[in-house]
């Protein structure tokens, strides 16, 4: 995998909000805030099969997200990569793990039946 500069790694490890961009079928971009978990190698997002981003990724697997440090906005990271795998999460267990990471009550989501984990391969890390 790609090298991640030490100065940027804390932004990936903190429970920060990632703004995840995908490309819509018409070729225009979409951006939305997402929780994620970085396992040291890949980034994982909780998502559902019914949502727009999931459909975007069926046609174009490219994913990019950016995060800024709320305490120091000039400090940011941009991560480029691609959807590597979609893992069903019908028990909502990854969603629960994410909630715990973000300091929320670890309860299963209402839409667990449609839940998936989007596993993103990291190709490039930029930032400041």
């Amino acid at each position: 995998m790609t090298a991640i500069p030490d100065a940027l790694r804390p932004l990936l490890e903190a429970p920060a909000i990632a703004h995840l961009a995908t490309v819509r079928p018409d070729g225009s971009p979409r951006s939305s805030p997402m929780w994620f978990l970085f396992d040291g190698e890949r980034a994982r997002f909780s998502h559902t099969r019914t949502r727009a981003k999931f459909r975007d990724l069926q046609a174009n697997r490219a994913m990019t997200f950016s995060i800024h440090d709320p305490d120091d906005p000039a400090h940011y990271v941009e991560v480029r990569g691609a959807l590597e795998e979609i893992v069903p999460d019908t028990a909502g267990s990854f969603s629960i793990e994410l909630r715990r990471h973000y300091g929320k009550d670890p309860v299963p989501p209402d839409d667990a039946a449609d839940r998936v984990v989007l596993v993103m391969r990291i190709d490039r890390v930029l930032g400041n």
Partner: protein, 129 residues
Amino acid sequence: MTEIPDALRPILEAPAFAHLATVHPDGSPQSSPMWFLFDGERVRFTHTSFRAKFRNLQANPGMAFSILDPEDPYRYIEVRGVLDEIVPDPTGAFYVELSRRYGNEDPPPPPDAADRVILVMRIDRVLGR
């Protein structure tokens, strides 16, 4: 122009960070945090004519950004649209205006003023909660 729900308007009016996505010529997205100014109709970003986003927009004018409400991280807005206009900013005046808006008291013009441009985005769709 598109309707902006009243509940989301304060997020566009605050000096928050917009994560602006464009599309690279290879079809993959690019995203980075940006200062911006919403004038009630269009959104303006300060940029330079030599950066990746500028080049991306030459080929694909699609733009989208998302912002978290600094006051309440459960609230956010997603805005989609296209590049409407590129306005030269050779003195960096718009950069300085934005810098002041984001809390810098007496900002000098940017060292890259000669290459500064204003990306003016037309809003086509607003989502959020």
